[in-house]
Homo-oligomer: 342 residues x 2
């Protein structure tokens, strides 16, 4: 086992699995943002021709998975496992998107870290010899999230400047034992971190300690420095949470300003789009990964990426009961170089 | 890979991981049932001295994990990964039970199949060389489930005879690369199955097709017959759902009546306890496994167990929107014999 575990939280794969397909389906506003040209599909009206926001999420997941399978050149029947989850209570976007697909499913709940969690487990099952093909799939929708977590849109509630904007979109990634890359070389699995933030309109601050903890642990256990990566992205802390992470590292004497970004900041254009501190939701980091980052890797503009999914593990009930907001962060190292570790 | 995969859904472990600890914390009514003598802890008042039902679930999870770690003779700091989830929106019982534990977490959503899902992934990560110790953890609470899925207790709602009773309790299982057994030898991972049942008060019928599909696939892919097992348990279909599963097999010419039971039926005494068709909830199969089944295995009364976690993957929103109820079932084969498969 020792060749695979670099520390308690970090695994290095003996045979790094390859990403062989990825797909994205985005909402209208996401399509108007700076990454709008990257997505496989952009809805004109955020409805995807469905009768409810929840059904729209299911439709987006189906589309994203379909694009990813198509690019991988395989059918769903070749998938050994799908790892999927979403933000809706009981993850119903996922159960309804997969009920016709005839694929073995491991349902996840990782809030906005779901894509990174799914990639981590996907890669472990492939490297462990349990799968040839897997998929990681997730989604979120602004309107279903507002209704469930805050107030129905018709209420017209306002948000403080520290709040984030739940992205409308879905992303899917297909992994394979063999392929041209990019490759998942390492994963660092996060712990639940809670530093006492109780403001559900400041989730970036609540999740930042988890992001810092996992990224720092990743550097320690891999013996890598931030410079190794062309890009380190968290998803999704927003601009305020990302500043807090950079501040934590700065107090360790580590400067992240050159190569650290947040998916919530990348997805929208703050001067034209009023998203407060940035995007959030499972769909946000999934869209940025499957729309933008993996394309940049395929075109050689990013060779080493540390993709760090961050999730806030609270609920409206826990907030009403006065609880603080626990966070988690899972980091996945993706590289255009294979680095066999035998 | 071929030595590990017996088919698309079934994995056979090269080095079957061992269960080295298990713990249970049960509610008052569960303690008065036929398995009441088996649990590590029984609450007198279903509150576990907490101020809300949600906090009670967290307290139960902490207790169950603590008992399991104690029996395994290890501290939480030795756990490489915890796989955990529950029924509460955003799985908050889990995030709050683990925020002080300093353990890497993969959050799951599998509804009442969560324990089987957690055992499956635990065993894969150990056999794959990524972990020495893992934990699978879940819980449910009658009162938090009533409030969230149906009506607050104060409403005094009645249920039709096909309904089930959400169990109050938590179970935890510690797996290890080495140990005296029992061993997880195979897992068969389920697909989302939906045969169009829309009655949220008849979830046994909604989940039965998933249970039948996974169990039948397990027999096909392992080339085993039902006779191989001393006991096949589903969890939790209740008496009606279990009859439907037996009926499905009967129409295939397979008689399950000798060695097939359901955890929802085992947990309560129907002549003294008014639970309609039986128990349900993530905590039900977790309690029956960690309270009763693993004790029976340790005492040699069960040598080969097929533990089949069943989950209904709907939500109150999907039901209100007229959707049918998708189900899933994950099967785990547990044996007192190691069966190395090199």
């Amino acid at each position: 086992m020792d060749t695979k575990k670099l520390g308690r939280q970090t695994v290095r794969f003996a045979h790094p699995p390859s990403i062989v397909g990825y797909g994205s389906a985005a909402g209208h506003m996401e399509g108007q943002g700076p990454l709008g040209h990257c997505f496989d599909f952009i809805s004109e009206d955020d409805r995807f021709e469905e009768k409810s926001w929840e059904k729209t999420e299911t439709a987006m997941q189906k589309q994203a998975l379909s694009f990813a399978l198509s690019k991988a050149g395989i059918k769903a029947s070749l998938l050994d496992y799908v790892f999927a989850g979403d933000l809706l209570n009981q993850c119903i976007a996922t159960s309804y998107s997969l009920r016709g697909e005839n694929v073995p499913l491991f349902g996840l709940y990782g809030a906005c870290s779901t894509m990174a969690e799914g990639l981590s487990l996907s890669a472990m099952l492939i490297d462990g010899g349990f799968a040839s093909y897997t998929a990681a799939l997730t989604s979120s929708h602004f309107c279903s999230a507002e209704r469930q977590y805050r107030s129905p849109l018709e209420y017209g509630g306002q948000k403080p400047p520290t709040a984030q904007w739940t992205a409308t979109g879905s992303g899917a990634v297909i992994l394979s034992r063999r392929g041209p890359g990019p490759f998942l070389t390492h994963v660092t699995t996060g712990k639940v971190m809670d530093k006492g933030i109780t403001d559900a309109n400041n989730m970036g601050a609540a999740m930042a300690p988890a992001a810092y903890d996992t990224i720092r642990t990743h550097f320690e256990e891999t013996n890598r420095s931030p410079d190794f990566y062309d890009l380190i992205v968290t998803g999704d802390l927003g601009s305020l949470g990302a500043e807090i992470v950079a501040d934590f590292f700065r107090s360790d004497g580590v400067d992240l300003h050159k190569n650290y970004r947040d998916c919530g900041v990348l997805l929208f254009n703050p001067s034209r789009q009023d998203v407060h501190t940035g995007g959030s939701g499972c769909g946000c980091s999934a869209l940025v990964l499957t729309g933008y980052l993996l394309r940049e890797m395929s075109q050689g503009r990013i060779n080493h990426l540390l993709f760090c999914g961050t999730g806030a593990l609270h609920s409206p009930i826990s907030t009403m009961q006065g609880e603080s907001i626990p966070g988690i962060c899972h980091a996945v190292s993706i590289s255009t170089e294979k680095e066999e570790n035998l």
